[in-house]
């Protein structure tokens, strides 16, 4: 199993029996491939679906059935279709138990920036603000550093934020970090990575527990 697969399996353990879950566009969506098939969960998609099933190949696709990322999907028994107002009533009223989102930056207080890089990327927010602000648990799945090697975990977001203090846990290629009232807490570390390497790659104070940190 390679490092990425170990990371995805670790994140997938967040998704528990009976949860209503929204997976963000991109890498988070691929978490469905790492779930225990026996697990009964309800996947919500912003465009008006609960009970989203596996992605379909071209020749099986239904032209009227995509997820919010545009992938042709199936539905599971018990699925429902509804309009966009109902879809976001589900989000804003706290019915989403867990959302997994990508990020450009996460601050040590849990502020999330994942929708805009002024002058570079400003294509709009979609449903991201509502998910970040209202899902009961918000976890981030991202690379620890950007393409220039800069830490995406920061003291304060420099980019426009999506929501304040919303992130509870960060999963990266290097570590699993909790956002707590005491600050950032190192919880797990990728196999073959040292605590010093994680600390050096993180541009915010990181609390290291006294007992050994488990690896993934």
């Amino acid at each position: 199993m390679d490092a990425k697969e170990r990371m995805m399996r670790t994140v997938a353990r967040e998704i528990k029996e009976g949860m209503t879950v929204n997976l963000g566009i991109g890498q988070p969506t691929r978490l469905v491939n790492y779930l225990d098939p026996e697990l009964s969960i309800c996947l919500h998609s912003e465009n008006g679906i609960t009970g989203v099933g596996p992605v379909l190949e071209f020749d099986q696709a239904d032209r009227n059935l995509i997820d919010a990322g545009g992938a042709y999907v199936s539905t599971l028994p018990g699925a429902a279709f509804f309009d966009s107002s109902v879809s976001f009533a589900i989000v804003r009223s706290g019915r989403i138990d867990l959302t997994v989102l990508g990020a450009f930056e996460v601050a040590m207080n849990g502020d999330l920036a994942n929708w805009m890089v002024p002058g570079v990327f400003a294509a709009g927010v979609g449903g991201g603000m509502e998910l970040a602000q209202k899902a009961r648990r918000v976890i981030i799945l991202m690379t620890h550093r950007d393409r220039q090697g800069k830490s995406k975990i920061v003291r304060e977001c420099s980019l426009p934020i999506s929501a304040k203090g919303c992130v509870q846990r960060i999963y990266t290629d290097l570590a699993v970090i909790d956002v707590s009232e005491q600050g950032l807490m190192l919880r797990m570390i990728a196999e073959g990575i040292s605590v010093d390497e994680v600390t050096a790659a993180t541009a915010a104070p990181l609390h290291i527990p006294e007992q050994p940190v488990p690896s993934f």
């Binding site: 008006g48 919010a68 309009d83 976001f88 294509a123 979609g126 449903g127 509502e130 304040k164």
Partner: protein, 230 residues
């Protein structure tokens, strides 16, 4: 009750320059491609479009953008259409971004005859900068105003001549809300059934919201499953 069917030419000819138009659809499902192509052919200018997204390059709304017919978009994102992003960056297209559920609710609000609603969505973000703030029971909230339009252009899977509508699967999205919020609602339908052939309990949009129905003789390639290499 009177049948609302009309030709696509005469339906789109109702739209004038500088009108505000809501367009159903989230990506391909629900986008009324034939109505949009007809609007591109008629060439009305200085339009404001309200839609979840700007479709993809070379499809639907993009034809209107390429024709220079649109002055302003009100959307939740334009991430799938690089042409729209380019026009925006060049200052040739005004774009107002709304969180997706707030866009839906602003449309629903107008459709329900209400004058606004209060929310905390986006309150700590740059999207809140120009929005009025209201304090209720010690809590500061944003006032979101209704979004209404002169026209809505929608795609239905099935309709009857009175204008009762059924949408397919994820093609529902913004359409039932837009059907309530526009002065005139123009609907293209894949199937036109006889009055009474739709189950009353299956109807998503009831007939009072619909003004004009256009039966599509066939679906163009844009409605089909697209190979994108995803």
């Amino acid at each position: 009750m009177r049948a609302k069917t009309d030709t696509i030419e005469s339906a789109i000819a109702r739209i004038g320059d500088s009108d505000t138009i809501m367009v159903g659809g989230f990506g391909v499902p629900g986008t009324p491609f034939c109505l949009l192509d007809e609007l591109a052919r008629h060439g009305q200018k200085h339009l404001t479009l309200i839609k979840n997204d700007a479709n993809e390059a070379g499809m639907g709304v993009d034809h209107l953008l390429q024709n220079g017919q649109i002055d302003k978009l009100v959307v939740s994102h334009i991430g799938l259409n690089a042409n729209a992003t380019k026009l925006m960056n060049e200052g040739r297209l005004e774009v107002e971004f709304c969180p997706q559920g707030i866009l839906a609710e602003r449309i629903r609000c107008a459709g329900a005859g209400l004058f606004g609603f209060l929310t905390d969505i986006g309150i700590d973000t740059i999207l809140a900068e120009d929005k009025p703030r209201v304090e209720v029971d010690g809590r500061e909230l944003l006032l979101e105003k209704p979004l209404e339009a002169d026209f809505a252009l929608l795609h239905a899977y099935r309709a009857d001549p009175l204008g009762n509508l059924v949408y397919a699967a994820a093609a529902q999205n913004f359409s039932p809300l837009m059907a309530m919020a526009a002065g005139q609602v123009i609907v293209e339908t894949e199937q036109l059934l006889a009055s009474g052939d739709l189950q009353p309990e299956s109807i998503h949009t009831p007939s009072p919201f619909v003004d004009v129905l256009v039966e599509l003789p066939m679906l163009t390639a844009e409605y089909g499953v697209l190979r994108r290499g995803r």
